[in-house]
Symmetry: C2
Amino acid sequence: MIGKDIEKLIKIISKLPSLGPRSSRRIVLHLLKKKDSSMQPLIEALSSISQNIKTCEICGNYDTASPCSICSSDKKLSDILCVVQDVSDLWAMEKVSSFNGRYHVLGGVLSALDGVAPEDLNIENLLYRIKKEGINEVILALPATVDGQITAHYLLSKLKEVNVNVTTLAQGIPMGAELDYMDEGTLQLAFSSRKAL
Amino acid sequence: MIGKDIEKLIKIISKLPSLGPRSSRRIVLHLLKKKDSSMQPLIEALSSISQNIKTCEICGNYDTASPCSICSSDKKLSDILCVVQDVSDLWAMEKVSSFNGRYHVLGGVLSALDGVAPEDLNIENLLYRIKKEGINEVILALPATVDGQITAHYLLSKLKEVNVNVTTLAQGIPMGAELDYMDEGTLQLAFSSRKAL
């Protein structure tokens, strides 16, 4: 018999990804105990985001401004585009700063099972950007799944029409991996794509 | 280069218990994608709790009313009190409905290391409640740690003065446990407190 309002908050938080009822209770207790230093800043940050969040009209990233801070930055290379499935992939790539170009969020991958067709993805806009922004290279950073690779092939056929260099991320053994834990597909791929030293 | 406001929200959420930067990013993306069905209800629930939350003047529980819903319920036994360290313990006990009395939250346990003295705990009020509410039995449900047991002993000496039955939770082998994974202390305790069948 925990108070109704508190139960409701626990339920809402427990439905967020990577949380459950137990961790949600711990979080709510933490928020209640540190009302000023933890709950208030959280409410303010959430409210501010909720009011100001926009989807960037150019690349599809989330930001409080549109065009987003990446598209409007003059420190990013302007002739290279990285095509990703989702905003989460874009954020993951921005964490490691090994790429200094701009992005294009497809909003999904082609999928016969889930009924995702080319017109459901942000592809028209990609072709338009390539022409308008004078893009020289498009990096396809799509997931290494069947659907991801089918999408990459489809995009490749479309991109050939607009005369642009298309590359894709290297596939192989991930860093720090033990070879005997690797699946056969990855090992085969790593052999066939072996590099001269 | 994720937007500043979004980074701020990710940072705040990543400091909550059981969360880190990666799960926090996942949660923020989920909130951004499901703004109406997930972010708005969360903001409303948080704001409502933040404005209305109170510490129950009788037992120390958190609720939107004081006395809390447990202290003001007429379905709870009125002559039996369960003394717990923290509100989290109270919530855990309310989850399993094996106890139908009221609670008293100490707000900590005695600790020489952390400098917690008897006057820092909600003990005076406990003695006052026992007299005023005509309490018949006090169950000490304190942690099975050294500090918890010292606190239980201290409370026992205090409670002897006010003529009330004092009990404590049974200790022994937890349900579903393998004996060879149990520590020596627990096994010793389980032997010395063995029960006739």
